[in-house]
Amino acid sequence: MPDVNITVDGKKVAAPAGTLLIEACKNAGIEVPSFCYYPNLSLQGACRMCLVKVEKMPKLQTACTTVISEGMIVATNSDEIRQARKSMIEFLLGNHPLDCPVCDAGGECELQDMAFSYGAAESKYMEPKNHKEEQQWSPVVYFDRPRCILCYRCVRVCGEGMDVWALGVQNRGVSSIIAPNQDDHLECEECGMCIDICPVGALTSGAYRYKTRPWEMNHVGTTCTHCADGCKTTLGVRRADTGMEIVRGDNRDKSGINGDFLCIKGRYAFDFAHHKERLTQPLIRKDGRLTPSTWEEAFEVIGSRLTEVRDCDGGQAIGVLGSTRTTNEENYLLQKFARVVLQTNNIDHHRTADFPAFVSALTERPEAAASMRDVYNAPAILLIGNDPTEQHPLLAWQIRNNVRLHRARLYVINSQPIKLRRQATSFLQIPTGAEAQLSSFLAGQDSAIDALLSGPTSRDEWISLREKLRSEPGLVIIFGSEIRGSDVVSLVKSASGIHDVKFICLGDYANSRGAADMGVYPDLLPGYQRLADPGKFHEEWGGVPRAVGFTLPEMIESATAGKLKAWYVVGANPVGRLALDPFAFSQSFVVVQDMFLTETAVIADVVLPAANAYEKSGTFTNTCGDLQLVKKAGEVTGTKSDFEIIVRIAGSMGYDVRKLVPFGRGMTADMGQSRGAQSGEVDRHGVWLEASGLELKMSPFDPMAILDEIQRLLPGYAVSRMDLLAGNAQHTALPAGKAGALHDPKLIVPADNNLFSSGTLGRYSRTLNSVIENRHKKPEELEVAAD
């Protein structure tokens, strides 16, 4: 659009036509205060703080609702304007309680800031304030009515942004109040966006309530450990008796791929870290019972047993199960440890999406993998399977906002009437399990259409949809784990004629994609490189075992037959999540490292207390392949990160850790960002470092040393380290050439998490549980009409 020229405070400003005056001023570096205006939400004009003087207009104008026009001359800072703003604040403070010392927003309250800038602390209004009791609307949302300044931001973000419409306004004029959708409580997604967006302390968080004050915390920006979308969450940490306690999660600086957005899990579900059942001591089975022990003894037992099994029965007798929540560095290190130290390819993880098939389908155009940001900007989106509202909240947010703000066309094909159909240009329902036929149909196989016809959609509608999709340049195709193996290939083939088409394959856990990228597969090396062609890895690691290893079902089979002598499980709970027979491994030596005594940990011979993703550094790759930094925020005494545990086990097996973690070469410009709060860490490792003849540095436990190796060997991961350390998401490219593989589709077991569950981890979050309990008390929720 052509630029419009205006003058603001004597400064020439040019902005595209249609820009709001408040935005034009902001871009020119001139701040116009406002409460009700929020970028990307509908305009309200309620607070009247953004009053400015526009020449030739009789009265002061609200900058948030005025569109710029050619030659406009604007003054934003005259005596008249300052007086007007001061009067507005005086109005707002008329019934606003002066309880800043006990208000959770105190210190980060926009009204407080404005009152500081414009005065009006003394009121002419002498009548007593109209007090109302605070209300609890849900386990995580509290509402203090007198503090509310009626900016309607919460109402708008809940409705327009989240499409939940749980908040509304009752009454009119001076007696307006914000009210929840169900009598006295909220029935919503509990995302907490209303709390985050509230400029004052009217809406406050139940989880953070009265715990501390904003300036008392350290704020660490890291990546959420729950679903596979990889939202950036800023954790507020305070020192506690047992290390560092996380007291709050929010998206304070709004800088990540999620922008304004965070769901309930990113905002509140960090509290598993201080659950009372958290393990803080290694447990070793003695006389049939798991008894608390020391780290030294645990490493000795594991080291000697694993060495014994490897040397007597060979690597084939050892199985390794990786995690979908540990960092890329830990996954890479684990598979390297398995292949180089344990000399086995028996390594697998809980697969929730068919990434190897995705890669093999896209080897000819690896740039066709979309990033999370592409979803927000794409002109058209095709969503097949999955329910992003429940399983990928950020993805759903991006889709909704793309449709709302950019008028993108959304095509939804699902076996269930998922909520995103409300944004869809067209929604077509297919029978459950017909996704395979759908991809063949889209690929041009007309005979597959019969399987899709059970619903109200006619044959012609299906064919016209297919034609329409083929003429959608820039289409982003998003598919869930319903589409696997050869179906992925045919789906990709179906879109081969579409210009600039991109794809997203949806996994379920925070680092499901990372585990796949890092080669936690029995037949694939990092970067989906096939085992038959180890290439650079062969030279770098000094040999890779050639035989294809066991998948998880094969490990179980081998263990039942008594052939699998040792099983090493890192951060996974297959017994609980995959309904595996706990007695299958009764003849094996089982080592489990986890945060809690899970169903898998109880069958173990040694249980090691591990740190969670909020207590270590590294990187996560989200389901779109966006690489992000994980920074250490919290700390619980007694636990060790999975990275450190793997290195120590390798050390106790007599392996040279310098070869496992190639520290000291490559990029060392870490500058400490990756370590977050871990000062004094070197002191803690002093004894072991000294005993192993190593320098007193963090190097062998430094995830960045492994990231160097990853970036060296995986071309797709060669992204800017500076940008990564600065906290920006970096889109990684898929490998080109011979990579990926088609696996048995049955190996994929979707996690089926919803908004309030998160695998085994979610069970230990008090906030998530309180929300779930609260919901079960209520009658079935009803979907609210969009307006």
């Binding site: 800043c100 010392p101 006990v102 009265y210 715990k211 008392e216």
Partner: protein, 176 residues
């Protein structure tokens, strides 16, 4: 005559000495003086160890706003906040200080915390004998700094009459 001059100077000086001998003494006789203060005397403005005040109902004035800790130049105040409930009401507002520690190893008695306090909860008392052989004893807890219950609370306190009838021991009801 320099000799006479010197004698005169000595006499002048000694006369002041002898004059002062008959004046009342102004040196404080601490720690050998009488009374609980052992002879120490204070101006009202003296900034001694802190006292956490109570309101007229005997509730703590501190609402755990952390402003004293924020204002403290030596970072010696540690607070953990908690929420008042109907059963356990500790302060007059929504929240109270569950833990309130002052580290007298670090405190410089500047009085900024007292100035910052919006509820006049923290004040300087006249306590000054803080010295100890054990530094960990210099971290004062809330219980050590809390003012005693106001005098009228003893005589006018409301007891748990209903429960006493059922045989429970008499306890003053909080906030009465």
């Amino acid at each position: 005559m320099p000799v006479l001059k010197n004698i005169a100077a000595i006499a002048k000086g000694m006369s002041i000495t002898f004059m002062e001998m008959f004046q009342p003494t102004i040196v404080e006789n601490y720690p050998d003086g009488p009374g609980p203060l052992k002879g120490a005397k204070f101006q009202a403005r003296f900034r001694g160890t802190h006292v956490l005040q109570r309101d007229e109902n005997g509730l703590e004035k501190c609402v755990a706003c952390f402003l004293c800790a924020a204002n403290c130049p030596s970072n010696c105040i540690y607070i953990e906040a908690a929420e008042n409930t109907a059963e356990q009401r500790v302060s007059g507002a929504e929240r109270y200080a569950k833990i309130y520690n002052i580290d007298y190893n670090r405190c410089i008695f500047c009085g900024y915390c007292v100035e910052a306090c919006p509820t006049d909860a923290i004040t300087h008392g006249h306590g000054f004998e803080v010295a100890t052989f054990n530094v960990s004893g210099l971290i004062y807890r809330k219980e050590q700094m809390l003012a005693p219950m106001p005098a009228h609370m003893g005589a006018n306190a409301v007891f748990n009459q209903d429960e006493i009838g059922a045989g429970a021991p008499a306890v003053a009801v909080q906030g009465s």
